[in-house]
């Protein structure tokens, strides 16, 4: 078991436990935030796993998750808008912490991979992960006033 896998296990265990606790308890607003946090915890873990197993093809999983995770959160933000309207969820600290952790992991894996096509793929994954995270939490905080009831 090398350091990458150990880091992935720690990230998966800590992030997964925190997200599980958040998603099963509390008001709906907190649950949606925790669901959004799942993506930002598991996606860097998948990147670390791909580096730990020495299989660059595993980056595809992280790429797909970075693409589809925010889509799932937007589905909940749209269809749960009635429940979310009484207390619009906002977690600025958590959002920026998750974005920072994702950026740190992507940077570490990038340094290990070195220049090449794999590096471009990693950078695209990181950009999608952080951008999607910020877009999803912005949508949760601001709500979907314009399309509500449609």
């Amino acid at each position: 078991m090398n350091g990458w896998n150990l880091a992935a296990a720690v990230l998966l265990g800590a992030g997964g436990t925190a997200a599980l606790w958040g998603v099963t308890t509390g008001p709906p607003a907190r649950r949606v935030i925790a669901q959004n946090m799942t993506t930002s915890a598991v996606c860097p873990a998948l990147l670390l796993l791909s580096q730990g197993y020495g299989r660059p093809a595993y980056v595809d999983l992280a790429l797909l998750l970075a693409l589809l995770g925010p889509v799932g959160t937007l589905v909940f933000a749209r269809l749960l808008s009635d429940d979310l309207s009484d207390g619009p969820p906002s977690a600025r600290v958590l959002t920026w912490t998750a974005a920072g952790a994702g950026a740190a992991v992507v940077l570490a894996v990038c340094v290990a991979v070195g220049p090449g096509r794999a590096l471009v793929k990693l950078l695209v994954t990181g950009a999608l992960l952080i951008g999607g995270n910020i877009i999803a939490s912005r949508a949760l905080a601001d709500g979907f006033q314009g399309v509500r009831g449609g």
Binding site: N5, L20, T24, L65, G72, F76
Partner: protein, 86 residues
């Protein structure tokens, strides 16, 4: 020691599946289910089956919650429409 990752992923999947069953409200069940879908994909990756993980990600993270939430919405609306004429 190399099995630690598998143990972590398995424990999280088991805990989230139990939590999904224990929830009462279908909308909240859908939230826990989407969480479980992502973790299941991580478990498949740890077990060296990334192809299964890819399809699980596509289905579990966005498609299943969307279907459940759409049907919950439709059922609620129908219930509301039936109550109104009385």
């Amino acid at each position: 020691m190399a099995d630690a990752l598998i143990v972590v992923a398995l424990l999280l999947v088991a805990a989230s599946a139990t939590a999904a069953v224990a929830q009462r409200d279908p909308a909240r069940q859908a939230l826990v289910l989407s969480f479980m879908g992502v973790l299941l994909a991580a478990l498949f990756t740890v077990l060296q089956a990334p192809d299964v993980g890819l399809s699980q990600l596509a289905v579990g993270s966005a498609l299943t919650p969307l279907l459940i939430m759409l049907s919950v919405r439709k059922v609620r609306r129908r219930g509301r429409a039936r109550k109104e004429p009385e």
